[in-house]
Amino acid sequence: VSRTSRVQGVSEPSLVVGVAILSACLLVFVLAPLAATLAFPNVGSWGVTLRSGRFAKAALHSLLMTILSTATATLVGFLFAYTITRTATPLRGLFRAVSVLPLFSPPFMVAFGYVMMVGRNGLITHGLLGLRVNVFGWHGLWLAQTISFFPVAAIVMEGALRSLSPNLLHAASNLGASGARQLWTITLPILRPAFAAAGLLVGIQVLADFGNPILIGGNFSVLATEAWLRVEGWADVQGAAVLSAEILLPSLLLFAAQRIWVRGRTVATVTARAGMDTVPRTSAAGRWLLGIVCGIVSALVLLVYVALLLGAFVKGWGFDWTPTLANLGDITVRGAELLHSILYAAGAALGSAVVSLGTAFLVSRKRFRLRSAMDLAALLPAALPGICFGIGYSILFSRPPLDLYGTAAIVVLSLLFWNISVGHQTFVTAFGQISPAFGEAAANLGAGSFRVLREIELPLVSGAFLSAATVSFIRAVTTLSVVVFLANAGNGVATVSIMNLVNDGFYGKAAALTVSLLILSAGALGLGRLAAGRPVDLFQA
């Protein structure tokens, strides 16, 4: 095990160009739109918004929800990742599939699904058990956020667990340490950076998410919903911008906390020395416990998708369960939007995986003046509510010098840069676990940085590349809040149509359009994996 303290300075010309290009991209497509959003409100509206008691309460709610959901989502994510990588449970395949599903949570549908299944008039709670359960409020939201965001944690954790060399565990096992003791004294400490990375990603996304709280929060308002509602309910772009800034502050604190917590504790476990491949298996009791927890969570996840499928193929979602195919009729006229959704997201996903690979490589492996700034800028987008990103792009790129109004480019670029954070964090974690010795050896033999990245580092982080591209793709396909400020008739995407259908009362059609969007996305991901020479099974590295 070697400490990854050896980072190299930037001296090659090609590397200087790389740093310059990536910095310029982050400046133009992340920092400038953010600045444009924050510069939009005048002084008066900063004062009015910040003094409002309503928004103070929302801020408190946001913090509370972030703490609760981050804790549970990270824990559940870890348990899933551990079950998938470290046990021989026969349900592993199911658990992995389930751990991907909540990433596909298009606006409106998840919350509708919960109301339909476990609400006051829910199929299960009322129809089956005769109960009148209220899912609206902080408890329902906590559940929804845990389910929605544990997959992000699971992905980071799974990558970390997979690259954790089993040698240490074998050594401990030979010395007589029990499985639980190994977990406590070896696995968990080594995973500390992964926990921090996962917690940070989950935390900032919970802070910035508006979709779940607006539908299931009930009277429990949070900052992100308030920001969205300033726009939707009052056309108050200034207020929305101020609230976005308010969300940024705790995100930055989380970022700082994460840095402090992992400082100097990154341990590389993929080293230039060969290791054994097999991992000691978990005890039977442990397997059962993990299986039960993952089983319950899986049931909750599947519930939503069963509700969604039901919604697409019945006459009246929630009240008339007569089967019908009528809802599918509308999909044909939405062909253009569906196609846009898939194409834009694919472009954004590939782009964001490449950009975040670049930023993570530089941040992890090189020492240069803008290193911390680049690290922060690459993480910022996840901390920004989608609406803030959309407002910034709308202000900045609807006018010269870069007028992209109504084009595919404005949507693709916004989705690309809004998604770099997950990739960046995934790659940084992956690089942290791979000893720089490989690259150093190659460099000593005369290989340039690009060659090292392409031929040595990239193959080692190819799993992370795939994860990053997949998550970006799914987030891009299913986002509404980023694109609502950028989509027009010519570059419209499916989520905007889903919103319009919901507003017109076409819940069945909305569900059908959502289902077709999800099927197309899954198909596109499968094709992408085939093209990359991987098994079609998502997330199998």
């Binding site: 609400g119 609502v484 400020f485 027009n488 009362g505």
Partner: protein, 339 residues
Amino acid sequence: MKRFLVVLAALLLAAGSLLADDAKKVVIYAALDEKTSKDLAAAFQAATGYTAEIALQIEQAGTVASRIKTEAPTARADVVIGGNSSFHTDLATGGYLERYTSPVVKTAGIDPRFMDPDGYWTGWYLGALCILYNEKRYTEEIKPKGIQPPTTWDDLLNPVYKGQVIASNPATTGGAYLMLAAQIFRLGSEQAGFDYIRKLDPNVAQYTAGANGSIALVSQGEAIVGFAWGHDTLKQKTQGNLPIVVVFPKDTGFEIGAASIIKNAPHLEAAKRFIDFLLSPEAGKINAMNGYRYPVRKGVEMPPGVPAFESLKLAPWDLKAAAVNLDAWKKRWADITGK
């Protein structure tokens, strides 16, 4: 050389026809339901020979108005249609609108109180507040107690509906704020209006963020009764076959649906013609049949099941008072409900 001249002439012709076409075109930002917008554009095209392009179609007027603000100073569209007049007043105050009063208001004898006193927006339809209830849950849970279906605002105060009413939050949406104002205007004083809010509060299961949040929740049986904009409710009920009953209380509030020309509109003349068109009987009919909204122009047939506008006893309406008291009333509401 000759060939070059021919090509040049062809190019000039093409450019000329493009320019000509461009002058006979109107670009629309629509805050209406999809079908109404499409039908209006098609009818305008047929009636005038102008091209009508819907560049943005989002039902929430706030989102559409926000985009006009972020995209300024370049006007990307000529007209913004739909949404209650407060959004248009807000845009006018921010300097995002062009002033225009259609001559049709006078020639067709349309009531001028539906027009912007400052001359920016044109009121072209009206929507009234309605009460809606879940038919099944009412029949199973309320009717056996010998209680008639809710038809008046006071019916919602009945303790039998404790925790069964979906209301909306005036802090989060302009439309919901108008619903609060409607209670004050209907009852004649602030005191009486807020007394009503205080009495209603124990019955409220949830104050939804959106003005029309009750439609989905009552349909799904999350609660028994709620209130929303009547035109939106009827439209959703018909299109989605929702299991709800829609009632217009005798003394109810209403909103003025407006349309405006965006400042620096690239096609100003076409924009004016489009606003004129919105006041025509033809446009009124499209709006009424698809969107269940009452045209300001009298004599337009309404779809079956919609009470005649004249039959509604509307509460007196004071947009100025609603605007002036915005912060005070929202605060008082929040103090009462704790939301």
